[in-house]
Amino acid sequence: MGISVFLILFPLCCAPVMYLITNDRLRAYVTYVAVGIIAAASVALTAQWAMNGAVPVMLYEETEAADHVILVAELLLMVLVTYLCFKHKKYWISILSIVPTLLIARQELSGAKPMTLCHIYIDHLSILMCLIVGIVGSLIVVYAVGYMYGYHMHRKDVRDNRRYFYMLLFVFLGAMFGFVLSESLLWIDFFWEVTSVCSFLLIGYTKEPEAINNSFRALWMNLLGGVALAAGILYFARSMNCVSFHKLIEFAQMGEVPATIAVTLIAFAALTKAAQLPFSTWLMGAMVAPTPSSALLHSATMVKAGIYVLFRLAPAMGETATGNVVVFIGGFTFFMASIMAISQSDGKKVLAFSTISNLGLMTACAGVGAHETVWAGIFLMMFHAVSKSLLFQDVGATENATGSRDIEDMHGLLYRLPMLGFYMFIGIAAMFLAPFGMLISKWSALKAAVDRNNILLVMFITYGSATTGFYWTKWMGKIISRSHETGERMKKDVTQKNEKFSLTVHAVMMIALCVLMPWLSGHFVDPLLVEMFGKFTNVLPGMILVMMVLIMCIVLAIPIPAYIYAKNQKTNYKLNYMSGINTGKNNGFVDSFGEEKKLWLTNYYFDRLIQPDKMMVYCQLLTAAVLAVMVSFVLGGVLV
């Protein structure tokens, strides 16, 4: 099981190497080898763990040397953040880093030895996270090699600092593995801070004023979460003399007050990481970063760290005040973010809002704290990681090829850039259409919400899935609409081979996940739930799966033969109907002066009805009030 440590250390060791190699080509090859090793190692860890009976494994009870290294690294991180805050005159943000770090340091240096089961804990949930980070993460890094080349070709204004970029990606991968494998809360806190800082640095990559501004917003929000996390951990450590994550949940389930308080504070931290309202704005701002970092950190993996923590806390949250607040925040975010997504035409912004929205649904699933909802949440997480990563990469590649990531400019993408158009179509379909797993998860979440008599969540899910369907479907319609430039292919598909490789693997994984879902449910997710809740009832009736297979057959088997048939059939193709003012081509019409006008079709964005900026403020006020009430209740409990 040494692989687990290898997974944490290897990416961290690769990072400085990346920075030292100045030759682009050489660095590309080293990157391929490194991520190949990382992906293989995560699979190997899974295999080794499965071979040992897939039971929870606890490693490293005594880690004094490692603890010291982490403490020093934590202090260095604090110094770095403080330096950058002062450099950019955002002095107050540094407090959010200094205070928790010093408090943690004091705790560690005080000589008290809080009990922990072990330092590394490998169970189903951490294996799942490792696979997501190891496989999806590695593919995104492969994609990044090609993308960043294209990015600097068409963004001459941005200084080419790719060495630094790759270094951060590898640091992040290492931290992410550390985060999901750690059992000691002190370690978790450290890796949490590292991912926050990586995200901050990557958002500011272009060094433009907007990027800098957004990066600091992301920093303070994530650090605020870090403060809550540290506070929760320290309070728990002081009162129970324990820093074990699993023990914390056990104590909270038994109703120990300090543990319940710690759960609340950690859940608060998780909400910031998962970009839930009122903290959603940092994720929107993060979209100024180059696409690979958006895909890796701000959609596929880092934000999932928040969800991961919430899943861990789920058994302790069911039917508690904290749980109810988390459900409310999650459900509300799911609905509101999907409404805001309707008004966006920038592809990346739609993806960002949809990420927030889906994370909201997962958050709500965790907050309910029942095994059915966690089942749904786990599947949402898997499908979301793969399909969002696919979509982000696809939009990035499209932007490199066409110079625009606006959805309106993707009209007829399927005909102009067939591969990118097709993959984008699959990626979007996977987000909400039958037979893909997101839909089954939504079905299961809705059922569980009804079972728990949670009317609020039922409302959020029914209205939210209507709005979610709307913004996705209109995007899909854009892709398949016949192009305004009929017959003219795109200038050139400049997508690099490595980008194509990553996209194709993602698309294949998407389909495979869909086909393998029943098997995954029975062999992986069910045992995971048993581990978590100690009991399990079958969530997914076999009938549903049969239906999904049939729908899959319909969707795959009908269009293709029908298309071939229609192509060979003797059909009289005519121009579109335009009240008789056609010009002879489909992309124009004759105006009242007898002159030709170009035809341009656009989607509805409801921009008068939905004003995201305004709406966001109201939503933030409301959710902030709810959170404030929750936290004050908890703190009030301490004082009394």
Partner: protein, 289 residues
């Protein structure tokens, strides 16, 4: 699957288009009488369909017919899930997927009238989705199961427990069956500001496929209406038939009595009505459970 389920699915596949066609014929006749006209024969929709099938195939897009076939297949499948007595919530989710394919078939042409109408079609889908899903949830709360077979063989008349959910379901039937005041994306009448809306670029066989699919859909929707009344008592089928007839008459009457609203009004009216009628109904069901 039991023999009974297989038989009812086969019956559905064979008879639903007949029922749908008759409904349309009846609709035209009733509308005509309401307007003081004699109206076409009841079988007119079938004559129209035969004529469409024999016409020269004229199209503007290669992809359209395959997407329409997908729409048809998914719609038949939706109804099959329902009449096989399977999971109603999943059936309603698949219904949305089917409607999505209808949208694709319209938008794929890049024709101006079609594109505007298909955007409106999407708004319609968004408008009715909450009411439809909540109706499914309501059945689950009353009967304790999503299985259509078990809901239909329970001893309670669902309508007595879920009047609010039923009211919003009838309201969204106006949208689904393309009746005024909510026929914003296309209608059965010649008076539509967007030429023929989503049907503008559909001709000959494609229009025939579209029509048959709508018939399947309408028959299936009437099935859901019937589910509000059907119980283990065989006599309840009479009640169900009466309810369907009453709802149908209401839809035709509304179609003839109302002016078309703008999509924004449709969205607001329906969502608010659903929120209060269905939401309160659900809340009460949860409380008395």
């Amino acid at each position: 699957m039991s023999i009974k389920a297989v038989i009812s699915v086969i019956m559905y596949i064979l008879l639903a288009p007949v029922a749908g066609g008759l409904m349309e014929g009846l609709d035209r006749k009733l509308s005509a009488r309401m307007q003081g006209r004699i109206g076409p024969p009841i079988l007119q929709p079938f004559y129209d369909l035969r004529k469409l099938m024999n016409k020269q195939v004229i199209s503007v897009s290669v992809l359209q017919s395959s997407l329409l076939l997908c729409y048809l297949a998914l719609m038949i499948f939706t109804g099959a899930i329902f009449f096989a007595g399977s999971d109603i919530l999943m059936c309603l989710f698949v219904l949305t997927t089917a409607s999505t394919f209808m949208y694709f078939a319209a938008v794929v042409t890049s024709s101006p009238y079609n594109t505007i109408a298909s955007s409106r079609e999407l708004i319609q889908i968004m408008t009715y989705e909450p009411a439809v899903l909540m109706a499914g949830v309501g059945f689950y709360l009353v009967a304790g199961t999503f299985s259509v077979a078990k809901i239909a063989s329970s001893s309670t008349v669902m309508l007595t427990r879920m009047p609010g959910l039923f009211a919003s379901f009838v309201l969204i039937l106006l949208i689904k069956m393309r009746k005024s005041p909510f026929d914003v994306s296309t209608s059965h009448h010649a008076h539509q500001e967007l030429v023929m809306g989503v049907k503008t670029e559909m001709g000959a066989q494609n229009l025939a496929i579209f029509t048959i699919t709508e018939w399947y859909e309408n028959a299936f929707l009437m099935g859901i209406v019937a589910l509000f009344v059907v119980t283990s008592n065989p006599l309840s089928f009479v009640g169900a038939a009466l309810l369907c007839a009453a709802v149908f008459f209401f839809l035709v009457l509304a179609d003839n009595a109302c002016a078309r609203v703008k999509w924004g009004q449709m969205l607001k009216m329906t969502w608010l009505f659903t929120f209060f009628a269905s939401g309160v109904n659900l809340l009460i069901l949860m409380l008395i459970r």
